[in-house]
Symmetry: C2
Subunit: 132 residues, 2 copies
DNA sequence: TACATAATGTTATATTATAACAATTTTAAT
DNA sequence: ATTAAAATTGTTATAATATAACATTATGTA
């Protein structure tokens, strides 16, 4: 479970926009959308994004430079994330699969390196796009 | 196995630099290093990078916006990639583990979406950095 | 209170990546 | 060899993403 964090004003504004969006949002798209609320500079957005990622309220989709709200209260504060990405419509879904997360959390490579974090992105076509 | 591709001059120059590097290289770092060889513009670098990624000779480390040479002739032309990243020294290694690649290649999510590609990045501390 | 920590506001700048268009080279078929 | 298509290159300009530096304000807490 996530530890509760009291979001600050900027953090809450930016989280709300991401949380309401059906698709991942990019930083400057967020910026344009919050300028009427007094957030005028990129840094204000990036700082809120950094904090929200840190506390696990949002995740960055690295291959898209975009952010989505966490759909998965059991993902250990952004330490273990997996997403499916449709390469046609760009729909992104957070994968919540205990077999997968167990497998990856326990994975050890030959070098004996133990991992504290992972991020996995699957690419393909979503159901809607396959039938097109 | 990789299909053989005859690299063009620019592609070869840029591949060689990445291949010889002990660490992932960023596009503009590559650019600075090849300016003496006549490659002057970012686009020349990005076009070569795009092609090299497409044919599987290099991979992009998404979380770092950097590129490394493929260490793994059996990774199906960039369709199934996994890396370990040391968060201290930034050493990146391509993981070649058949159990992992089988597990991920066969993974199906609840939505029935079948994936054609994945990228996995593990983060942690390498052996050298753990003991520091 | 007073101190430390976190968050904010602001300007400027750094870094990463693509658009648009013309020219050249390579490939493969006639 | 001729030719047309496809791929690659060269070039300038610009878009998109992200951080540095510094001053200020708010918040938590001893
Ligand atoms: Zn999550
Ligand atoms: Zn789709
Ligand atoms: Zn590879
Ligand atoms: Zn290390």
């Amino acid at each position: 479970m996530h530890k509760e964090h009291n979001l600050t004003k900027n953090q809450q504004i930016i989280f709300d926009i991401i949380d309401r969006s059906p698709e991942p949002l990019k930083a400057y798209s967020i910026l344009f959308n919050v300028q009427k609320k007094g957030i005028k500079a990129p840094l204000q957005v990036y700082r809120a994004l950094d904090k929200l990622v840190e506390i696990g309220k949002i995740h960055k989709i690295e291959s898209r430079n975009a952010f989505i709200a966490c759909q998965n209260s059991s993902c250990q504060v952004s330490k273990a994330t997996a997403f499916s990405i449709c390469e046609s419509c760009e729909k992104v879904t957070e994968i919540n699969n205990s077999s997968l997360s167990k497998y990856l959390s326990n994975f050890k490579d030959k070098a004996g390196m133990k991992y504290s974090k992972y991020n996995l992105e699957f690419f393909g076509l979503c159901k809607k796009c396959i039938t097109k």
